[in-house]
Symmetry: D2
Subunit: 143 residues, 4 copies
């Protein structure tokens, strides 16, 4: 059984568009926030990951979302994030957004473990996720 985390965010005025509902790219921002929170909950805070492993963020391979109900300013949203399939260099995150227990949207991210690589045109190189990171992400007990 893999790890999960809960992130709570409040929708702000500036997150919403002229329709009065959340401008949808913001939901992907919150997926990013929720992903880092899952790592922190697993004892792998962003700053440590950078210092210890030299990773440069956690670039996306895929991102998707299915929207059910719009959100508005001051809505309190809970994001339940869980780890999906973990592969050698990539991992999947699943984010279920809800408000007062009602489903708002579901999102999914596939990310790759990546280092700086000055020799490559795009400056990034995928690498195997370190065993101790895998161990922490898959531990059944709190870190």
């Amino acid at each position: 059984m893999s790890r999960s985390a809960t992130t709570t965010i409040r929708v702000e005025w500036g997150d919403c568009d002229p329709a009065g509902i959340v401008y949808y790219p913001r939901f992907f921002h919150w997926c990013d926030v929720a992903t880092w929170n899952l790592f922190a909950v697993c004892g792998l805070p962003l700053i440590e990951l950078q210092k210890r492993y030299g990773i440069v963020g956690f670039p996306l391979l895929e991102a998707s979302a299915t929207f059910r109900v719009p959100s508005r300013p001051q809505d309190l949203i809970v994001i339940a994030t869980s780890l999906g399939p973990l592969r050698r260099k990539t991992l999947e995150l699943r984010h279920a957004f809800s408000r007062d227990g009602a489903a708002l949207l579901e999102a999914r991210e596939v990310r790759v473990w990546a280092h700086h690589d000055a020799t490559r045109p795009n400056g990034l190189r995928a690498a195997a996720i370190p065993p101790e990171v895998v161990a922490r992400l898959t531990a059944s007990a709190p870190a």
Copy 2:
């Protein structure tokens, strides 16, 4: 054969994250920009759509992207947007991002034609896409 449009954007410093590459939610912002541009190219500018049909944006049902190559500040990106399946109340947009002819990412949006509806808790009501909008979106010749 349905309509298509090309949108060019420049990646700015503030679009990028500490990894020095575009913060991925920004790509969905550019999908939104490209969608409105496709409508404008079809003779349906945003402001007209709001005035004539009372729509409130174009809420998302689905959004997804597959990322191939990261982008950096000052990159000039071309977004080729085409119309996918058009249904009674929804339509699909396909966005192919490239730089100097090389594919960067592909994205897909499914959006619903929606009006304000004060009687509903979420304040929105899906409606059939007006025939003249369908006509303009599917016309083979420039509007």
Copy 3:
């Protein structure tokens, strides 16, 4: 003596630019968040203000900031917001940002009480701040 409020925010990865520090326009986003929080603390939540008074946001007349120390991902920032001069149609907000008690930046906003006005080209009309709003904003005891 006027009212004040404290807002705590965490700097996220996506708030920062390729220099690894907060992209400065985000600080103004947090000023906006902190302003609505001050109103909520005074018993004037955003949603109520819109419903009861028909205001459309709280447009800015002036905004400024003086930056002292940069902020980075995962920083926990406290924003102390207080009400500055209150005039007939405008009010001033002062935001002091700190981290672990150390000053990061100070910002200032002057905002105008505004209603929709379809007869004006810009669609907004300034109006006098209602007396009960003034009363709540200037009450010395918690609402």
Copy 4:
């Protein structure tokens, strides 16, 4: 006489808030865009500045704006940017935003020339602006 540059931006749906007008922090984003454009016009594109001088962005010391008229989706805005006082380590940028020749807002930024400095808690160190950068910024003829 110092250099100036003109930057044109289009207001997008996602730049606006539930009041239907530009969410004000976006104007500071456009100041940042206009600043880099001024540098590019002076023959100092962002990428060159980073490679040649190792600067890390152009951190802000001060930012301010005075807003006159709100902007809405699809507005075409022209930003006239000029260089204000140039000091040893800092420079000032002045941005005048207009639409169809009518003034929308004026903004001002004071920025510092900064390098990475791993020995400092905030990781940045101010430095003198290199003479050749000063020369290009103050040249009266096009670079």
